[in-house]
Symmetry: C2
Subunit: 201 residues, 2 copies
């Protein structure tokens, strides 16, 4: 995006790309709400040599909306987003697609019994198809790199299951809880069960 826009900027105009890491599975102006950016992080990726006054003004804009601001290179942004957003979306789209294609299990069964965990994946797999197609085509390198690592780790896990290595499974399943706790203590999620889904009918 930066490479495409930069050649067209007039003298004295500074480009400060900003990516607020916030949002829902809905798109467009009607999907906004007043606290959308509150306590979420906004990433700025100013190219080398960007005027520091311009960076300060963009920072002040996002801070005024309630966001926290972090500055990094565009290359690092693409890696960070590949693992925190793009690959999760790809996996979610993929598992929902695989489930829809099974011959032994009907789509009705997948829907009925989705409360067992599958449901969590469907939220992000309902995101805007056009935007996500373009994201994958534009962040190809980082997405394929992260996907490759994920596949290596899946192969190790599959082997542990096949050979009954319960300790390896237990170790991983214990380690992953720490990340969840970090996300909750940093205010990026609530600890309420089921994402705070209402319990009362």
């Amino acid at each position: 995006m930066i490479d495409q826009a930069a050649p067209h900027l007039p003298e004295g105009v500074h480009l400060v790309p900003a990516h607020p890491v916030a949002g829902t599975e809905y798109s467009g102006p009607d999907a906004g709400f007043a606290t959308l950016f509150l306590d979420r992080w906004c990433i700025l990726t100013p190219p080398d040599g960007t005027d520091s006054g311009a960076i300060d003004r963009v920072t002040a804009f996002w801070t005024a909306l309630g966001a926290n601001v972090e500055v990094m290179t565009a290359e690092h942004h693409d890696l960070v987003l590949a693992i925190t957003s793009h690959v999760p979306h790809l996996i979610a789209y993929n598992i929902v697609g695989t489930a829809a294609d099974l011959e032994e299990v009907t789509q009705g069964e997948v829907i009925k019994f989705s409360a067992g965990g599958f449901r969590d994946f469907t939220r992000i797999a309902a995101s805007d198809p056009t935007m996500w197609r373009d994201i994958f085509l534009h962040n190809k390198g980082a997405v394929l790199e992260m996907l490759g690592r994920l596949n290596e780790d899946i192969a190790i896990l599959a082997r542990a299951i096949r050979w009954g290595d319960g300790d390896a499974l237990f170790d991983l399943f214990t380690r992953t809880r720490a990340i969840r706790r970090g996300i909750i203590s940093e205010g990026q999620e609530t600890p309420e069960p089921d994402f705070g889904r209402r319990r009362e009918p």
Copy 2:
């Protein structure tokens, strides 16, 4: 489980295994609440020749708790749960583990920017490690079969990204929305953005 229990049952005792597909990432008696089973599905897997009166009594028990009941073979149950619950948990544990091990992206960054989609995976990756180790060791066949299919589909997607096949990506991303709509219209999820996570501070 059925194979292990069946030889020890006295004459005239009928085993009607029941699996309520409901729950949160928390375990134990304190994690229960009054509406936990309301409108969720409970699967009964009575072996051939089970007394129909016994099945009726177990059905009445779960119905009284607010659940819907479906009867199927244990083998079909294991396949259905592999795709709707076990593989989603495995993938969630795996992606959280992969993210924790990266050298280019810090754990702090993964936590900060988790609102981009990653966060959704961490809920089920915080589930009880002992229970999940045992589930994978006991439903090995169905889990490995479903995981194999998922891997085939991921390979197709990775290829589409590598070669810039935007139409293939768009088609999948459109198809997966229908499953999400089915889950919402069947009452297994709310349509509120972010799983109805509260918007007001």
